[in-house]
C-alpha cells in the first residue's frame, strides 16, 4: 500500500544482508575464540606434562650420578683394602723370614751357647723362685745341663741371699722344630716364663713394628703427631 514492490524487495534484501553479516561476524568471533582457546589449552597441556617429564628424568639422571659416585667410592675402598692387606702380608713374611733365620742361628754352636746361657740366667732373675724347672728341646738337654750351674752362680752372686734349686725336665720337651730357647716353670707349673727364641721374636717384632712399617713402607704422610 505505501511501499512499492521494489521497496519491499529492497528492504528484504537489506534484512537478509544484515542477517548474513551478523552471522559472518559471529562466525569470525567463534573462530577467533576457537583458535585462542586451542592455543591456551594446548600450551597448558604441554607445559603441564613437560614439567612432569623433566622432573622424572632429572631424578633418573641424579640416580646415575649417584651410582657413579658409589662405584668410585667402592673402588677406592677396595683398592685401599688390598694395599693394606698386601702390606700386612709383607710384614708377616718378614716375621716368618726372621723365624727361619733364627732357626738356622741355633746351629751356630758358640752363638747359641751364649744365647742359651743368657736365657737361662734371665729366666731365673725374672722368676726369683726357690724351685725352678727348665724345659728345653730334646737336642738341647745336654747343653742346658752344662749351662745351668753357671747360671745358678750368676743368680746367687747377684741376689746374695737367694737360694735356688733348678731341675731340668727330661720327660717333657719343647717341640723339635722350635727355634730354641727354654721355658721356665715355678710353683708346680703355675708360673711360666717363656724364654724361647720364638717368644722373644714375637715380643721384639711387635715392639719394633712401627720401625718396621716405616722402613718398609715409608713415613706415614697422614700422621699428624709424632711425639
Amino acid at each position: 500500500m505505501g511501499l512499492s514492490e521494489a521497496d519491499v524487495t529492497k528492504q528484504i534484501q537489506q534484512m537478509i544482508s544484515f542477517i548474513q553479516q551478523e552471522a559472518a561476524e559471529k562466525v569470525e568471533e567463534i573462530e577467533a575464540k576457537a583458535e585462542e582457546e586451542f592455543n591456551i589449552e594446548k600450551s597448558r597441556l604441554v607445559s603441564q606434562q613437560r614439567i612432569k617429564i623433566i622432573e622424572y628424568y632429572d631424578k633418573k639422571e641424579k640416580q646415575i650420578e649417584l651410582q657413579r659416585k658409589i662405584q668410585h667410592s667402592n673402588l677406592a675402598n677396595a683398592s685401599r683394602l688390598s694395599i693394606l692387606k698386601a702390606r700386612d702380608d709383607y710384614v708377616q713374611t718378614l716375621k716368618e723370614e726372621a723365624r727361619k733365620q733364627l732357626s738356622i742361628l741355633a746351629q751356630d754352636r758358640s752363638k747359641y751357647t751364649t744365647i742359651l746361657a743368657n736365657l737361662i740366667a734371665q729366666g731365673l732373675f725374672l722368676l726369683m723362685e726357690k724351685d725352678v724347672t727348665i724345659r728345653c728341646r730334646r737336642n738341647d738337654l745336654d747343653l742346658v745341663k752344662q749351662l745351668v750351674p753357671d747360671a745358678i752362680n750368676r743368680y746367687k752372686q747377684e741376689l746374695k741371699q737367694k737360694d735356688i734349686q733348678v731341675n731340668i725336665d727330661d720327660k717333657n720337651f719343647l717341640p723339635d722344630d722350635s727355634a730354641g730357647g727354654i721355658e721356665l716353670y715355678a710353683m708346680g707349673g703355675k708360673i711360666k716364663v717363656s724364654n724361647t727364641i720364638e717368644a722373644r721374636l714375637a715380643m721384639i717384632f711387635n715392639q719394633i713394628l712401627p720401625e718396621i712399617r716405616e722402613k718398609l713402607f715409608g713415613v706415614n704422610q697422614n700422621r699428624k703427631y709424632h711425639d
Binding site: 576457537a34 673402588l75 734371665q122 741376689l159
Partner: protein, 116 residues
C-alpha cells in the same frame, strides 16, 4: 504473495545463518579436541628426546664403569708392585736388626731386688 516470498527468503536466510554459526561452533569444538591430540604428540616427541638423552647418559656411564674398575685395579697393582720392591730392598737391614735384638739378651735382676 510478495510478502510471503519475502518472509520465506528471510526465514531461509536466518536458517542458513544459524547453520553457519552452528558449523562454526562444531569446528571450534573439534579444534579444542585437536588441542589435546596435538599436545599429546608434542609431549611424546619431547619425552622421546629426553629419554634418548637419558639412555645415552646411561650407556656412557656403563662404559665408564668398566673403565673405572680397570683403571683402579691397574693403579692398585702398581702400588702393590712398589710395595714388593720396597720390601725386597729393605728386608735385609730389618732382618739383621731383628736378629741382633733377639740375640742381645741382658739378664738383669729386678731393680727392687738389688736394694738389699
Amino acid at each position: 504473495m510478495l510478502q510471503s516470498r519475502g518472509i520465506t527468503d528471510l526465514i531461509s536466510a536466518e536458517k542458513e545463518a544459524q547453520g553457519r554459526i552452528e558449523e562454526a561452533r562444531k569446528r571450534k569444538n573439534k579444534r579444542l579436541k585437536e588441542a589435546q591430540n596435538e599436545a599429546k604428540t608434542e609431549i611424546e616427541h619431547f619425552k622421546g628426546d629426553r629419554d634418548q638423552r637419558y639412555k645415552s647418559l646411561e650407556q656412557q656411564q656403563l662404559g665408564n664403569r668398566n673403565q673405572m674398575t680397570e683403571e683402579s685395579n691397574r693403579t692398585t697393582q702398581v702400588q702393590i708392585g712398589d710395595l714388593k720392591d720396597q720390601y725386597e730392598s729393605n728386608k735385609g737391614a730389618l732382618l739383621e736388626r731383628i736378629l741382633t735384638l733377639v740375640c742381645d739378651i741382658k739378664p738383669e735382676s729386678h731393680i727392687n731386688a738389688r736394694i738389699d
